[in-house]
Symmetry: C2
Subunit: 358 residues, 2 copies
DNA sequence: CTGTTAGCGCATTCAC
DNA sequence: GTGAATGCGCTAACAG
């Protein structure tokens, strides 16, 4: 069916070995024969068979990118940056293809996709987003990663903490986000405005990202000598998935539990949109009655009304870096861990609470 | 290095052919030997080599998904739906991996990625988003698609018109969007509210999507006996890329050209965000001074303030359908073309123009 | 039902 | 510099 190396060789009057050499350009070949081969390639519209090449040379043009969901801008931005970086044909080892896998945050799906990528002998894997906490699952993932790493697959974690103790031998590079610090500065901002009754809409309960952001929040509360543990705080905390409707429901619940709430922090910007909608639907104004803040600084956050106060994560830069690392094009950071700074973006959705309401 | 079929065979005391058979389950194998093999597979943690399998069986687990940019929610939603659909392991032929390629709308990049996917002998390719108009490029793409189709790669176009005349022999299924009809209904909505001076921020000049939406807009104008061609209309039309800043700049330009503008239609919702920002920055109110409308109904559009009037495209459904088609899991529509309906979503960003201003 | 035998298309020793 | 031979790991006839 398709034209093969042998066809090209026949047409150029050389052996297939020679064709292979000019194609890969890593062996000396006489200029004249090289030209003849190249012409034959063009004449026949020859396209190498990646599978055969991969099998023979034990290489692969694929890089896996695990995300919760590419439709979520948070992951879309990272995936886009990774893809752009690895496919750059001018870079050494470039021209790789990105295999995007939606795990939906499910540990099982994560393992399934890692196996699928191992099956393809992927050149690298970038795992993005927070991890599900739990020893069993961590161990299972670590085991798969160990196998992958052993077979030469480069592994980069992006937006997730490094592997835990027993798995630290595995050569994995991590690009982590400073979720804790960002959350802390965000809460400090609200506290300094005078807020004291702050609702917190956290993400799914067993995720590292959720925990870190919550820890930052509570650290800020503790700094201000406010209760940071116990029922008083738990009462103002609601968990839910990372979507708009979750934010909507959570905000209603928080307002029910504490009608005198003056501020709400959301797990991320998408959730914050739902919170805003709920607050408005209750006839309350933002930020006059209730301040609202998000996390991530997704592109739309500057265009909500009022513009959303949030914590910026340079997702694009982080993804690009992860892409370079997984290509081995950039030296890993010391200790294999780079922590990306986050930045508080103060906008119009947060303000001082009404006089007398604090 | 890695454990192979032969290793499993040795361990199970059978031939490698038998192992292959139980793995693929398409040949009768005795229950007892099957169990023995399966145990060996587990013991050795065997994972098939996809490249070798693909080479031997002339198959592939990859499906290419060409998008402008996955970070753009429009494409992210489609890509996500395609991915989910093709990776479903329970479906026949399922468990495929999605190779996401950002073309940035560039014809050259599109061709490059199609070649890369041909190299991988992809099982299918989904090409999303509007096409660049132009005979040369269309022909080049058609040629590549013909080669791909001939080699058994299923091809689906999603959000782009079908192939033109000379290439119609190529077996390609198209899931098109009714951009023209949607744009027409949107403009009719504004006209019926009483708007007569409507600015139009169009997308990049040489894209099918841009043209179709513009055509729908002008058809509506013509229906109302308003000028639909010529300098009067051109004056109220500005072209630009599909991003926020483009919308911002375009809105300023339109307001400069026609300060008495009462409405602006944007190429899509992202552009509309920029338009809204510009309008507000000019001290004008939406919709009291100027109505603004978008296109696509991206998730954030319901949460802008005021909520954006727009034309909904069921991107998720379209992507899922494209995914099923590319897997051959759903019969192609008659004529190979399915046109997805679009729906006008009237929200708060459009209203009657100020009395006397019409 | 199962083992044997050939390739799939290419990279890569090893000779020349 | 170039060709011939071997094998990557697996599937698919072909026998039995």
């Amino acid at each position: 069916m398709a034209v093969t190396l042998a066809d090209v060789a026949a047409r150029a009057g050389v052996s297939s070995a020679t064709v292979s050499r000019v194609l890969n350009g890593n062996y000396p070949v006489a200029g004249s024969t090289r030209e003849r081969v190249q012409r034959a390639v063009e004449d026949l519209d020859y396209v190498v068979n990646g599978q055969a090449r991969g099998l023979a040379a034990a290489t692969s043009d694929l890089v896996g990118v695990l995300v919760n969901d590419v439709a979520d801008p948070f992951f879309g931005l990272i995936a886009s940056a990774v893809q752009a970086e690895i496919s750059d044909p001018s870079a050494p080892g470039g021209g790789k293809l990105a295999v995007v896998c939606n795990t939906g945050g499910s540990p099982e799906a994560e393992l399934t996709y890692l196996t699928l990528l191992e099956r393809q002998r992927a050149a690298g894997v970038v795992i993005t987003g927070g991890a599900v906490e739990g020893a069993e699952h961590s161990a299972a993932v670590a085991a798969r990663l160990a196998r992958l790493a052993e077979s030469g697959t480069r592994i980069v974690l992006c937006g997730r903490p490094p592997l835990e103790q027993p798995a630290m031998e595995i050569p994995v590079t991590t690009v982590a986000f400073d979720n804790r610090g960002g959350a802390r500065r965000l809460t400090e901002h609200l506290l300094s405005l005078g807020h004291r009754r702050i609702g917190y809409v956290a993400g799914p309960a067993d995720r590292t990202t959720t925990r870190h952001r919550l820890e930052g929040h509570r650290a800020a509360l503790a700094d201000h000598a406010l209760p940071s543990t116990g029922p008083a705080v738990d009462r103002l905390t609601v968990h839910g998935p990372y979507d708009r409707s979750s934010g909507y429901d959570a905000a209603l619940e928080l307002l029910r539990r504490e009608p005198a709430l003056t501020a709400v922090i959301a797990a991320n910007d998408t959730v914050a949109l739902g919170v805003c909608a709920a607050v408005r639907d209750q006839g309350l104004s933002i930020p006059d009655d209730v301040s609202v803040a998000g996390f991530d600084d997704l592109p739309f956050s500057v265009d909500t009304a009022p513009a959303l106060t949030t914590v910026r994560i340079p997702l694009q830069e982080a993804g690009a870096r992860a892409g370079r690392l997984v290509m081995g094009r950039q030296a890993p950071p010391p200790g294999g861990l780079a922590t990306i700074r986050t930045e508080l973006m103060v906008r119009a959705s947060t303000a001082r609470p009404r006089a007398g309401s604090a």
